[in-house]
Amino acid sequence: MQILQSPARFRAVAMGLLALGALWIGVSTWLPGGTSTPGIPAPQTGFLAPDFTLETLEGQSITLSDLRGQAVLVNIWASWCLPCRAEMPAMERIYQEYKEAGFVILAVHATNQDSVAGAQTFAAEYELTFPILLDRDGAVGEQYQVTALPSSFFILPDGSIEEVVFGGPMAEALLRTRVETLLAEVEP
């Protein structure tokens, strides 16, 4: 490159670049987006988890935003999905271990891609004790932009998403480390 042929010219250009870079760093402090939690509902890390209200298999109504102050895992699944089957036993074990500390699992069943009977059989087969919510019209799956099952959203007590895991199965170690991270934010 021509600029590399003359040391004096190179030094001048280098100093100019560094000065402009420093100026841009200063200007960037005034630009929007310097923080990661804009308070907008979106299914992405750092954003507010989109709110929903769904009925459980037992007919009880649960609203996500009512669980503020607790550590929440929203897991979207279907009974025919093999990775969903593979991760459910670990989810149940983790739920049993941490529910007293303020951990909640909302297992949102993609009912529009499955059947209520499928969900009931599945819950009985794996002896699941956490709430199974029925997403009958797929609205929650759409809200959370789910393109693969299972999809998991780890939600902090303030309602913001800590991490999104598309696909599965999630290893028990992953569940344990993430739940412990969430619970560290729960006020006693």
């Binding site: 190179f10 560094l18 841009w24 402090t29 990661s36 804009p38 991490e163 170690a173």
Partner: protein
């Protein structure tokens, strides 16, 4: 945004696939042009392979070492495909150490090897923002510009596209076949580092999720400025040495 690619009914995670393609294309390009830097293509291939394997193992075992109780209850998680059970800093450290050990055993010279690796790094830096575009990560700040993209509830700068275009431009400008045969070892690599750091410094300012520190300064911009300054200082030293050599005949 396209986190999954549905091929014949099978959902394939698209962002990691883009990264893998980037690594494969980049390492192929680097091996093809390794001779220009007086490095054997087989040495470069082995170096990349060993560093990548060490990166993967180091990242997983580094993560496990930080969370021993989680793995004590379920040791098989060590072999899980979950990318969340990975510490990139441990991976980079172990990968780097493995590369240094291999380089020393083969008596490889640092600057020519870094020059030879540059095409691989340049292709990787094109792949990375494309993977972020597919996953929706590393998104831009809100904008009203007509080319903004709708993402996460706002019209945003397509900052991943800006970064991919900048990395593509750097790759084109520093295409190994255009190399100045008389260039000193290290010049090619340092030019790439300086250009990439400059691009990161510029586009980090348009990101919507930059970690910030005191005075609202963006952490990665400060890091990029430091890397840019170091690369320019290195280039300045190489040019200075060359001038001294010229004066001394």
């Amino acid at each position: 945004m396209m986190p999954f690619l549905n091929l014949f009914g099978v959902a394939i995670a698209f962002p990691p696939l883009i990264i893998l393609i980037g690594i494969w294309l980049g390492s192929s390009l680097a091996e093809k042009h390794a001779h220009r830097f007086k490095v054997q293509d087989s040495d470069l291939y082995n170096l990349i392979f060993i560093a990548l394997v060490a990166f993967v193992l180091g990242g997983r075992f580094g993560y496990a070492a930080q969370h021993p109780s989680a793995f004590a209850d379920d040791p098989l998680s060590l072999f899980s495909r979950n990318m969340g059970l990975f510490d990139p800093f441990s991976g980079a450290a172990v990968g780097g150490i493995a590369a240094v050990i291999y380089g020393q055993r083969k008596k490889l010279k640092l600057w020519p090897v870094l020059d030879a690796l540059t095409p691989a790094l340049a292709v990787f830096l094109v792949a990375m923002p494309l993977a972020n575009l597919a996953s929706g990560n590393a998104f831009g700040s809100p904008t009203s510009l007509p080319w903004g993209i709708d993402l996460w509830g706002e019209t945003r700068h397509p900052v991943q596209v800006y970064e991919a275009l900048a990395a593509g431009l750097i790759l084109w400008l520093l295409w190994p076949a255009k190399l100045d045969a008389k260039a000193k070892p290290g010049v090619y690599f340092l030019q790439f580092v300086a250009a990439s750091a400059l691009a990161r410094l510029v586009f980090e300012g348009l990101r919507g999720s930059s970690p910030v520190t005191v005075l609202n300064l963006r952490v990665y911009q400060l890091a990029a400025w430091g890397v840019l300054a170091s690369a320019l200082w290195g280039l300045s030293r190489i040019i200075g040495v060359r001038e001294m050599e010229k004066e001394n005949g």
